[in-house]
Symmetry: C2
Subunit: 250 residues, 2 copies
C-alpha cells in the first residue's frame, strides 16, 4: 500500500514562489494541470488571504463552514476536543495542504485547526469552488483526488494506531515528516519539529513519556540524533526497518 505518486501532483509545485500580488495560486494545491485562463477563474475565487499567529485558531469546532483553507506557509494541527477537555490531534498540516474537508459533511467544522507556527492560508469559499469545478473538470477531478487522499491517509493512521507499537509509530511518523519536508524542498534528514511531545503522543495514541522514551531509544541506537525539537536522521534505512512491515501514513 505505497502511495508515493499521488502526492507528486500538488507537491511538486508547492515550493515555487510566484511574485503575483494575490494569493499566488500557482503554488497552491489546486491548480494542477490548468491553463492560464482557468487559473485566472480560480484566482478570482481564492483571493482572500489570511494570517494566523502561532497558537491562533484557523477555525473552531462547531463553527459554520464556508471555506476550505489552502496552506500557503506555516504549520498547523487539527484536533478534536473530548468532553473531558483533553484533545486528540487528528493531523499535522503543512504548505500545500487543504484544510476543512471534514466540514463539508455537516456544514460545520468538526475539529479545531490551530497554528503551530505563524502561518498563512488562502481562503477558498466552498460554494464557489463547487461552482467553478463544474466549468473546469480537471479541477473537479483534482479536488476529488484530494478528498480521497485524505481518506487513504486516515486509513494509514488507523493501521498505525491499530497495529503498531510505540517505536514503530514514532519511526513511521518521522519518516512521514521527512518525506513531506523533502518534497517541499527542505532537508529530509534534518528538521525541526513544530509540535510538542504531548501533541505527537496524542496523534500517535501514546503518552508523552512514551514518545520521549522512543526518541531516546532511537538515539541510543544511533538511528537519529535528538536535540529537543531538532531531529537529525542519521540512518534512514534503519529507521525504515523500525517502521516494520507497513508503509502506511501517506
Amino acid at each position: 500500500m505505497l502511495h508515493n505518486t499521488p502526492l507528486r501532483n500538488h507537491l511538486d509545485i508547492s515550493h515555487i514562489r510566484s511574485s503575483c500580488a494575490t494569493c499566488s495560486l500557482r503554488e497552491l494545491c489546486l491548480p494542477v494541470g490548468l491553463n492560464d485562463d482557468e487559473i485566472q477563474v480560480l484566482g478570482d475565487v481564492v483571493s482572500h488571504k489570511r494570517k494566523i499567529q502561532r497558537g491562533g485558531y484557523l477555525h473552531h469546532t462547531g463553527a459554520k463552514f464556508q471555506s476550505l483553507f489552502a496552506i500557503r506557509s506555516g504549520f498547523l494541527k487539527t484536533c478534536v476536543l473530548e468532553q473531558d477537555g483533553r484533545q486528540q490531534v487528528t493531523g499535522f498540516h503543512m504548505t500545500g495542504e487543504l484544510l476543512g474537508l471534514d466540514a463539508i459533511s455537516t456544514d460545520t467544522h468538526t475539529c479545531d485547526a490551530i497554528a503551530l507556527e505563524d502561518s498563512e492560508v488562502c481562503e477558498i469559499p466552498f460554494a464557489k469552488l463547487e461552482e467553478i469545478s463544474r466549468i473546469i473538470p480537471s479541477l473537479m477531478r483534482h479536488f476529488h483526488k484530494m478528498m480521497s487522499r485524505e481518506i487513504v491517509r486516515d486509513h494509514g493512521v488507523m493501521l498505525l494506531l491499530g497495529s503498531m507499537k510505540a517505536e514503530e509509530r514514532l519511526a513511521t511518523f518521522l519518516l512521514n515528516l521527512s518525506r513531506r519536508f523533502l518534497v517541499r524542498g527542505y532537508s529530509e534528514s534534518d528538521f525541526n519539529l513544530r509540535m510538542t511531545r504531548e501533541e505527537i503522543g496524542s496523534y500517535l495514541g501514546l503518552k508523552l513519556e512514551t514518545v520521549s522514551r522512543a526518541f531516546s531509544k532511537l538515539q541510543d541506537e544511533d538511528i537519529i540524533t535528538v536535540d529537543n525539537k531538532h531531529i537529525r536522521i542519521n540512518d534512514i534505512a534503519r529507521l525504515r526497518m523500525k517502521m516494520g512491515n507497513s508503509s502506511c501514513i501517506t
Copy 2:
C-alpha cells in the same frame, strides 16, 4: 462531536424498496433531493448491478479503479493487507453506503472489499458520475458530503484507537452498529453480528481474546446478552456510559 444529522439524508430512504427493474436508484445513497428527470439521468449511469457471495471479493487491493459501489443489500468489510499477511479491517459497510472512495486518489483500489454475507451492489462508473454531477449540482454537493462524512468517520475511529480502552471501544462499536441498524428499520437492541471476533478485534485494534473478554464482561454486568453472534442490548443507557466521554464513530 455528534453527527446524527448527516446520516439522515441517505439513510432515511435506505429501507424503501422500489419495484423498479433496474437498480432501484431511489433506495440508494445518491439521489437525494433530485427530481424525477435527474434520477432518470442518474439511473442510466448506475444500471449495472452485481452480486457477491459471502466471502467473495468486490474488489482487490491494487485493482484498477473504475467505479464506486453503492451497497443495495448485504454486509461487507474493507481491509488492508500488511506485508506479513495479516489484515487490518478498516471498516464494516451496510446497505446505502458507498464503497471505493479511497480509490479515487490513485485510480487504484487501496483495500480489499469482502462480503461478509451475500450482498448486492450497484456499480457507479466514476467518470460518468463526475460528468453528470456537473449537470446536477445537488448531486455533486451530496457526493462531496458523502466523501467528507467518510473523513469524519475515520477521525472518529482514530479517536477510538488512539484514546479508548478495550471495553470502551467495544461499547462504541456496538452502539454504532445499533444505530445503523435502527436507521435501516431493524432492531437497535437485537441483532446478529456478521463478523468474527477476530475481525472486530482487527477493526478495534484489539486481539480476539480481548474482544471476547470484553463481551463477557458486558454480559456479566447485564448490559448485553451475548449468544455467539447474536447480541441483545439490555441497557443501552449503561452501554453509552461505558463508551465514556466521547461520541466518536459516526
